[in-house]
Assembly symmetry: C2
Homo-oligomer: 362 residues x 2
């Protein structure tokens, strides 16, 4: 990505303000949306593009869509992906036609996962996992990139609508693989409009914004086709548990995945960067440095739904009444519950896979 | 194209020698092939790549394939395309499995011909025309690019195997549309090998060589896939009838198409650049400048099959016994016959279209 952002920083607020400015986004206003979800209410969803039209679709019950993808590499889901799915679910619950594509071409080309293997992983894990995280399978249309010739045809078309320099200015660099991947994503993002033109919302992390921008450029150059430019919302990155700058595959202690076994889960939370003071005396006197406490971050972003419950814990911890150990204990318990819940739902969801609505292409 | 060549020049021989050197081709040796066709015998086919393996397949009756494409723009065929089809037919007649793809994606993206319109034109004109020019429909497999998801999937894969600089060095320049088009052609060229690995020959004009080179690069980087690198043969360009440097759409008098009505056909040949001298007296004395006579060129490349017949005319014209007018008269008569023959066969071939072997994709 051309404009990378620092996912862990005490200046998070300023960083995201800069991103909003640099990327030409609008600050997210939760008042636009009825019953905003936890991520929206707590400022984790921080920005968007063209959200008024989506707000209008919800309020006036007009057709619109929400879309996301599955990258069928390992049989694990990152907590960042969980955030995306929660946002997809929000729009699904508020009337959006829902599309989930399996990026098997991308996984094959960029990660060497064969199409057959990607298909197997998607059916065995990712699709059931998305359902376990709340998507309603009856309201969701799934497809595999490698089977969707309409998307591939559109990628071919889209490639003619951009110059190499424009591509570079959006993505920072250009190479044939990246160009193919990006134009295919443009096809994916617009696919729900091939039959019926309607607004659509794509929940993403900021690192995915180039795809949104490229799609909007292609739409602008294809006016006679009548596409709506995709809207988007952006969530903040989850900081690394260990307090380092970024989560990294090379430091498994820096992030939690779904599923993850309890022992490792507890260990990671217990070792996470804490906001507690050096001594109990100091802690009682000064209160926690709550903004750097990763266990509290987990509670806020993922583990506590009830705002009042969170506020209570926040106030007690910040004032020093609760200790870092107590916060971690709560996080461990709730994370275990999340994991149990996910695993149970995953098993149930697997049974639904044979009945799912896949698009069949002739 | 990075290395363009001058299709009309009195130094044709030297130019083509330079092309062979610059492009790393081998000079065509008609002894490699049993019963070489007119274009091979007369040096119009002048170069190739990896022809020994094709020669071996023919002589040992081993499986190999020949492949060409249809660009479904106007309902006309250029005489250059006729040369390609004659070469395809040669290999078909010598045991090659034959594949003809309709480049409807290319026509849509590069020329604005909708997929529906491209499909219609291919079925109504181009496919029957290819049959009228000699392809055996029973031995030929046709497909539409836009329907061949395996080709599109392979294009996605191929795009990851080349860098932007490598692409530039093959094509002279790189832009997203060109990259998409080229990687799709790589998929087309290798498609006959997806199920069964075998050598293949692609008859092309030199301007199409970059696709061959790119395909060979992708094959070299995908060794575990076990593809044979495509072989190729190259025909010389047909010079412009009016003696200008290049044939051009803006000067219809510079080229003949199939079909073309007799009046316009005769007019074009009558006005073609002649090798006759200024006066009859001079002509009888000096003989024709045969190498610049476009009517004779037509006889040589397209209109006279029998080598002895051609030789006789050549000698008489070169020695001044025959006049430019007589040559043009012969060319007119034979071109009319070619056109009549083509039109009749086209009508018959149209009736075969519903019975053709198209690949069906699920």
């Amino acid at each position: 990505m051309q404009k990378t952002i620092d996912p862990y920083s005490s200046e998070l607020v300023e960083d995201y303000t800069k991103i909003i400015k640099d990327f030409g986004l609008s600050r997210f206003n939760s008042k636009l949306f009825p019953k905003p979800n936890r991520l929206m209410r707590r400022g984790i969803v921080f920005a968007g593009r063209d959200l008024n039209i989506i707000s209008k679709c919800i309020k006036e019950k007009k057709p619109y869509y929400v879309l996301t993808g599955i990258m069928p590499t390992s049989e694990k889901i990152h907590l960042g992906t969980k955030m995306v799915i929660e946002n997809v679910k929000y729009f699904q619950d508020h009337g959006a036609k829902t599309f989930v594509l399996v990026a098997d071409l991308e996984a094959a080309a960029a990660r060497g996962v064969s199409l057959e293997e990607g298909r197997k992983r998607a059916l065995n894990f990712h699709i059931p996992a998305y359902i376990a995280l709340g998507l309603d399978p009856k309201k969701t249309t799934f497809y595999f990139q490698s089977e969707n010739k309409l998307v591939m045809n559109f990628a071919y078309y889209a490639s003619q609508k951009i110059t190499l320099n424009e591509f570079k200015s959006v993505y920072g660099k250009a190479d044939p693989g990246r160009i193919m991947s990006a134009t295919t994503q443009v096809g994916d993002i617009l696919y729900p409009q091939f039959k019926e033109k309607m607004p659509g919302i794509i929940p993403v992390g900021v690192d995915q914004d180039p795809h949104i921008r490229l799609t909007r450029d292609v739409v602008n150059r294809s006016k006679r086709m009548g596409f709506f430019s995709p809207s988007s919302i952006y969530h903040k990155f989850m900081p690394a548990l260990d307090g380092k700058l970024k989560m990294s595959k090379s430091r498994p202690e820096s992030y939690i995945e779904l599923p993850e076994d309890k022992k490792s889960l507890n260990k990671k939370i217990k070792r996470a960067l804490s906001g507690g003071r050096d001594t109990l005396e100091q802690h009682r006197k000064l209160g926690a440095k709550i903004e750097q406490d990763m266990a509290f971050e987990l509670l806020k972003v993922h583990l506590i739904e009830d705002d009042k419950e969170l506020k209570k814990i926040h106030d007690k911890y910040k004032s020093g009444k609760m200790t870092s150990g107590e916060i971690k204990q709560i996080a461990c318990e709730k994370a275990e519950k999340l994991m149990d819940d996910f695993n149970k739902k995953l098993i149930k969801a697997r049974k639904l896979v044979p009945k799912l609505k896949f698009i069949r292409f002739q």
